[in-house]
Symmetry: C2
Subunit: 232 residues, 2 copies
């Protein structure tokens, strides 16, 4: 197997500030993998053998409730670490990771985690900061779930996706991967029917354009007003 090129990870958040030689060392135990759309990178409650970096694509992190309902925890985009159970002392994965599109992934064996953290303090810092902001984000969503009604939650979710993974098009900001009404429902704790009704209403008013597994935000400002319960 050919060695991986350091340019793969140079400049990515987790490895910011590492010297070229360091990058080579980091890559040494890593293995590149490809996954087709809808493939599973790891499974909830499965033994955590590796941690991952998403080189290209989008990964959906999904938790399954005891009675089979799905909740989408977050979407991972390229350049982000995921499956870092090791970092927080877990031995199993807390959720499923499913590819929203074809993906390219680097995987490190979990035993390397402590090496990396010890040898590269900036890597440790970056990573724990990432975990911190994910904790923060989860709290934000919990607050939304507690205090907002469905309309606002869906508006917030769509805005967040457009902001984090949006791609500018002629018609507005398009969410960069296929996303169904069902997916949005699983992010916001509602049903696909309600999401459909909301998107239809917004489309009527020129705030979004949407179609099969596609959402384009054409008027972010008005959607923001809806999210904050200031617009009608």
């Amino acid at each position: 197997m050919a060695a991986l090129d350091r340019s793969l990870i140079a400049g990515l958040g987790p490895f910011a500030g590492l010297a070229p030689a360091d990058l080579d060392e980091v890559l040494q135990p890593a293995r590149a993998m490809r996954f087709a759309k809808d493939a599973t990178v790891f499974e909830q409650d499965g033994e955590a053998r590796s941690f991952f970096l998403l080189l290209d694509g989008y990964v959906r992190v999904v938790r399954i409730t005891p009675d089979g309902e799905q909740v989408i925890v977050r979407y991972i985009k390229d350049g982000e670490l995921f499956g870092i159970a090791a970092a927080i002392g877990r031995t199993t994965y807390p959720a499923n990771a499913v590819c929203a599109v074809d993906c390219v992934v680097l995987a490190w064996p979990n035993e390397r985690w402590s090496d990396l953290v010890e040898r590269f303090p900036s890597f440790a810092r970056n990573t724990y900061q990432t975990i911190g902001s994910r904790l923060q984000e989860t709290h934000d969503r919990m607050m939304e779930m507690s205090t907002e009604q469905v309309t606002q939650r869906v508006a917030h979710a769509v805005l967040r996706l457009a902001h984090q993974t949006g791609r500018k098009t002629a018609e507005g900001v398009e969410i960069d991967f296929p996303i169904s009404r069902q997916d949005i429902a699983e992010m916001t704790g509602t049903t696909l029917h309600t999401v459909s009704r909301l998107l239809s209403a917004w489309e009527e008013r020129g705030i979004v354009r949407s179609g099969r597994q596609k959402v384009i935000v054409s008027d972010p400002h008005r959607l923001m007003l809806i999210a904050e319960n200031r617009g009608s």
Copy 2:
């Protein structure tokens, strides 16, 4: 000011496995503080100057939404760290910390964080594990908020409190600090009215005993069935 005695923190989770001399060193920059019930230890968005260990009492961590609603994120009990914004690279506190009863707290200046983490790897490990399990717990609650109805959420919240902070009494497991219907509502995303109705109904059936700022779980098993939507 007299030096703090190492027995204060010996054996506590975060400092498990440290030698007596280490404990003295850890305590050296710490300052003990007392807070009366309802006093605020730190405020949301306030500059994070210190991190804290709760020596005695209970602390409520509360986030305030832009329009003034409160959401209780968690309760801290004695022996736990809190306000550890530094650990995850934040410079402000993400929430309010309010004493549920009179409290005794140790405070360290934030600058000491990196010292501690570097000098005492077991401290770092323990702490990041704590953050991990809080992230986990927050995810669990988010899932509950997404998929369960109010009855189940309230049952889960009460069970969790009884389990984490319960004190055995003749009548059952009593939650160890004053907690109002409003508090439970703010933990579960509902209203005090609904919580009151639920507790009344459960009391009728001998599952709980409750009164002013007081909840005793007398039949945890049946409450568990309700939480899992298996009991009526």
